[in-house]
């Protein structure tokens, strides 16, 4: 697999063109123009846009890009929260054979500069003044290639004097004019599209070193749709996504997982895409939309779980009696199903039939997943306890595994063959192996990326000699069929006693407690293991109120001896589940909430271990 830009060949006229996300969008507009494609909440109501209207806007935006001089292989960067403009510009870019680069809304200015410089983006979309300010800080000569900055929210731009600025509506006007003068220009580009065209750069979050832009091609995206979305056996009712389905999109669209489970699912099967107002309103938006397909990262599942527990704790006495009975039943159902590959046993089926009308139905409705026919978790490891809870109340969550570099196509738990604690089985017909020596998982299929943008040496590092992709994850086979992820290769801790320990398993067990938000196990080259723990402000604050414990700030809360005791209890419970050498001797509470801006977390909210050691070195040393 060569990694170059030469793959982007000059357009060959005529013909159908390769299948791309743009051609799929056009297909929906032709087949069902009246079906609702997207919904966005505005002033309390969900505004709907059907496929005809959506495609019209995509086409206009594509013409707008042509008017701005976007050529084949030019990069268009998008720095926005999830919103229709994101999806429209993304698809429009692919339609004109450009390359979409997504930026996380939380990316600080320095990272924005790096990403824009590295990708050499020509047109940039900054949704509002906040995101524009990050570009404004950059010396224009550093990003000389950038000619246009499109903004969507007009507020705050009145007195800005920057020649590169163009409002979204002006951009669309440009597109309309271009369409009038050059009808068919976009169609021409689309017809010339090739399978090997790079469609997007997905920047890896970069827990170590600067982010690298993984190049995904049209072929990669179609392969991911075929394997992840259209594989009917992955759905409990055996039906691929269709037009009756509803999706709630709320995770950053620049992440490959959200792109697959929202935009690409919409394009592959035709479900309606609903944009959540923000990450904070996800619980409420879930209740409103009641999505039928739902993908979430472990953090969201943990929060939904914690929210249920807390609200249960606040229930009145009579309701608590019912809730406790329901929770007991849920535990027993969960256990039975876990032992039975995710399917009901006779006993669990009866329990479910009794408690569904009493508790579970209302609970599912409150969580917003009553109509959910397939829920999935991925992008990070999740604690089995959380999955068992959801399974108990009747929401089966299927954990799956993949990474940006293989278009997230690797393994998935299938209904009826689910094994908790594993990431499931490899998709049919793909190459997946675990290296005998290092235990590293390696994949080989059409979803494997075209390489890192402008970093051939890094690309070479991630490929084995025989052309397989090295995932960097250590895995092991369970029963010969299922894959269990041990940890990231470079995260494995070797204690001074020479024991190999996987920290993520311990960390996830800790994080299954509603009181704990972050955990980082330390111990590489040390005598024993310790942990840095970040508490969950909401739940611990709530708990403190109940204990009549007054506090002012997060920092103040972490210094309370009662809170230390509370966390000690969680740590003790955790230690009981692991072998002695894997037990945590000591822990320290992190005195601040971790933040992307401060460099402790990546854009996807993963811990940056090196930065953590740097910032909280004193705390770590105090434990040894």
């Amino acid at each position: 697999m060569s990694v170059t830009e030469e793959r982007v060949s000059p357009s060959s006229m005529g013909g159908q063109g390769a299948k791309t996300v743009a051609s799929l969008a056009k297909g929906w507009a032709d087949r069902s123009p009246k079906h609702v494609a997207m919904r966005e909440k505005d002033f309390g109501i969900w505004l709907e846009a059907d496929w005809a209207e959506t495609w019209d806007r995509i086409e206009i935006a594509a013409h707008g890009l042509l008017a701005l001089g976007i050529d084949v292989g030019d990069r268009v960067s998008i720095h926005a929260e999830d919103r229709p403009e994101w999806v429209i510009l993304d698809i429009a870019t692919v339609a004109v054979r450009g390359i979409t680069v997504g930026l996380y809304p939380t990316n600080p200015a320095a990272e924005v500069e790096y990403l824009l410089q590295d990708s050499g983006s020509k047109v940039h979309l900054a949704e509002d003044q906040e995101q524009y300010d990050k570009v404004d800080e950059i010396d224009p000569s550093n990003i000389a290639e950038m000619s246009t900055i499109i903004y969507v929210e007009e507020r705050g731009f009145a007195s800005t004097n920057d020649q590169r600025l163009l409002s979204w509506s002006d951009f669309l006007d440009k597109g309309r004019e271009h369409r009038k003068n050059n009808p068919g220009a976009v169609a021409q580009r689309m017809a010339a599209a090739e399978d090997d065209d790079v469609m997007t750069l997905v920047y890896t979050s970069g827990t170590t070193g600067p982010p690298k832009g993984a190049m995904l091609t049209n072929k990669n995206s179609m392969f991911a749709m075929e394997k992840i979305i259209d594989e009917t056996s992955a759905y409990p009712d055996g039906k691929a996504p269709n037009q009756n389905d509803q999706i709630l999109t709320y995770l950053p669209l620049c992440h490959v997982a959200e792109r697959i489970f929202s935009t690409w699912t919409m394009l592959a099967g035709g479900p309606t895409l609903n944009f959540a107002e923000s990450i904070e309103t996800v619980p409420q938006n879930l209740r409103e939309i009641q999505p039928t397909l739902f993908f979430a990262v472990p953090r969201i599942w943990e929060r939904l779980h914690a929210g249920t527990i807390i609200r249960g704790g606040d229930a009145s006495r009579f309701k608590k009696i019912w809730l406790n009975a329901g929770m007991k039943a849920a535990n027993s159902i969960g256990e039975a199903k876990v032992a039975n590959g995710g399917s009901h046993t006779a006993k669990s089926r009866i329990l479910h039939a009794i408690f569904y009308p009493l508790i579970f139905r209302a609970m599912q409705e409150k969580i917003g997943l009553r109509h959910c026919r397939r829920a999935a978790s991925g992008a990070a490891p999740i604690a089995p306890e959380v999955l068992a809870f959801f399974m108990g109340i009747g929401i089966e969550v299927y954990e799956l595994y993949g990474m940006t570099e293989n278009s997230a196509v690797a393994t998935c738990n299938f209904p009826g063959r689910l094994k908790l604690g594993t990431v499931g089985e490899a998709y049919a017909g793909i190459g997946l192996r675990i290296d005998d020596e290092t235990g590293e998982i390696q994949t080989s299929h059409d979803g494997v990326f075209a390489g890192y943008w402008n970093k051939p040496e890094k690309t070479a590092e991630t490929m084995t000699d025989d052309g397989w992709l090295r995932t960097g994850d250590v895995g092991e086979w369970v029963d010969g069929t299922h894959v269990k992820i041990v940890d990231r290769m470079k995260d494995i801790i070797i204690t001074s006693g020479g024991k190999n320990i996987s920290p993520s398993e311990i960390e996830n067990t800790l994080k299954a407690s509603p009181f704990i938000k972050e955990a980082m196990v330390v111990g590489d080259g040390r005598k024993y293991l310790t942990a840095l723990i970040g508490i969950e402000m909401d739940t611990v604050g709530d708990w403190a109120l109940r204990q009549d414990l007054s506090y002012t700030t997060y920092r103040d809360l972490t210094t309370k001896p009662e809170v230390q005791e509370l966390v000690q209890g969680v740590v003790n419970d955790c230690n009981e589940k692991f072998a002695r050498v894997e037990g945590l001797k000591k822990f320290q509470l992190i005195p601040k909430e971790l933040d992307h801006e401060d460099g402790e977390l990546t854009a996807t909210q993963k811990l940056k271990r090196s930065a953590m050691i740097e910032h909280f070195g004193d705390l770590v040393e105090s434990m040894y």
């Binding site: 009641q290 609200r311 229930a315 309701k319």
Partner: protein, 433 residues
């Protein structure tokens, strides 16, 4: 298969729907349907009200419908606009007298000129009444009351709260005084005069278009008694005004009124013209009162001027406070409770009086509660002078006084608030929020 998603709102109309959920729609129509079946004499359904109110239950129930229209007007003024008025009975009276002047039998328009005759004050024979059909007198009753309302409102909208309440008491006394002064409209002060009958005529022809004062077939379809006809007519009127009220509440006008209720200064700052909307609230409320008063008087046939008194106004306050201020459903609950409980108590006392001397438990209860001359029962059977023991009529006042106090302290949202609590308890299931 597409699922129902009640919280997924794609248009503001869904938020403002009259009966937003299918459950509410179903319950509403079922209620109306059962009501009608009961009035038609369906075996089981009509048995329930006749257990509480006796065989002629249809009369006291029909009587509350016109009062309900007036109560809705009171809801608009007090519940939506937040203007506490005690003059509601006055506007009912205005409507009633406009109706009787236009529609009642009398001595022509000449008698309608006040003090037309030097001896007019004593001349019981000359009465104002033009014998016009209902389609004239009923709307005019509302419009007349509205005009009087607008006339007094510039004074009324300048004061608020307690001051407005006291200012409007004045209206009641003015009304009572006029009733005494103008017998050509009001008839005899003690016994009143006859009101036009409830029937549709084009003009003054002999056989009315729709007859509601005798038994017979309606529209050649269904045989109804006089009572049933009036029941359906007045129920229909109440429904119409209920729908109008709901529409006012969810429209721009209603939102403006409620903004003034919640904080008049804030509303003014937001651009709601306070004076204008207080006046509109006053005018609409007066219109309702006028229609309600006219229908009430016509249904009862003969009403004395002394009827439009402070006690009637207090009835409406009780309806709103006990039912639950601010909602139509609450007002209807309060209406049924406040207006029918005295009837039930009366029927119960009559039944008790029959049980006296029967022996057994009921006889003993009757003996304890009732008084006949010498013993100490708290309820007087014979209409006695004020004092101990009290008559059923007086006991009702005591009961409502206590109920108003109890509701104000323990359930300010009234009967409807109790329902809301029950509903929210189950809505949150299995959580508390």
């Amino acid at each position: 298969m597409a699922y129902r998603r009640p919280l997924l709102r794609t248009a503001y109309e869904q938020d403002a729907a009259m009966l937003p959920t299918w459950f509410q729609r179903g319950a509403f129509f079922l209620l109306i349907f059962t009501f009608c079946l009961a009035a038609l004499g369906a075996p089981f359904l009509s048995g329930i009200p006749s257990f509480f109110l006796g065989g002629t239950w249809i009369n006291p129930v029909t009587n509350i419908f016109p009062l309900g229209i007036a109560a809705l007007g009171f809801l608009i003024l007090v519940g939506f606009t937040g203007q506490v008025s005690i003059g509601h009975a006055f506007f009912m009276g205005v409507g009633a007298y406009v109706a009787v002047s236009l529609g009642g039998n009398g001595d022509g328009w000449k008698a309608c000129v006040p003090f037309h005759d030097e001896v007019g004050l004593l001349d019981q024979a000359a009465q104002c009444g033009m014998g016009l059909p209902m389609w004239v007198w009923l709307p005019m009753a509302g419009i007349g009351a509205t005009l009087v309302g607008i006339l007094v409102s510039p004074a009324a909208v300048r004061v608020r709260g307690l001051y407005l309440a006291i200012a409007t008491i004045g209206l009641i006394f003015i009304g009572l005084h006029l009733g005494r002064m103008l017998p050509e409209y009001a008839g005899d002060f003690e016994s009143g005069r006859r009101w036009p009958e409830l029937q549709f005529k084009w003009w003054q022809e002999e056989t009315p278009l729709i007859d509601m004062t005798s038994d017979g077939k309606w529209f050649g379809l269904i045989h109804l008694t006089e009572e049933q006809k009036q029941f359906f007519f007045l129920l229909g009127m109440l429904l119409i005004f209920g729908v109008i009220t709901k529409n006012i509440a969810r429209s721009r006008t209603g939102r403006a009124l409620q903004a003034i209720r919640d904080r008049d200064i804030a509303a003014e700052v937001m651009g709601v013209p306070e004076f204008k909307y207080k006046l509109i609230g006053f005018a609409i409320s007066s219109f309702y009162a006028g229609i309600g008063g006219a229908l009430f008087a016509s249904y009862n046939g003969r009403v004395a001027p002394v009827q439009w008194s402070l006690l009637l106004s207090v009835d409406f306050i009780a309806i709103l406070l006990i039912g639950g201020i601010g909602t139509i459903a609450g007002t209807m609950l309060g209406l049924v409770f406040v207006e029918l409980t005295p009837e039930v108590v009366k029927k119960f006392t009559e039944w008790l009086a029959d049980q006296l001397g029967n022996g057994g438990l009921t006889g003993w209860v009757a003996d304890v509660l009732l008084t006949q001359g010498g013993d100490f029962g708290p309820i007087a059977v014979t209409p006695a002078a004020p004092g101990w023991p009290m008559s059923v009529f007086l006991w009702n006042f005591v009961i409502f006084g206590v109920l108003i106090v109890v509701f104000m302290i323990f359930e300010p949202q009234g009967l409807y608030g109790i329902w809301l609590r029950i509903r929210n308890y189950w809505k949150g299931w299995p959580f508390s929020y």
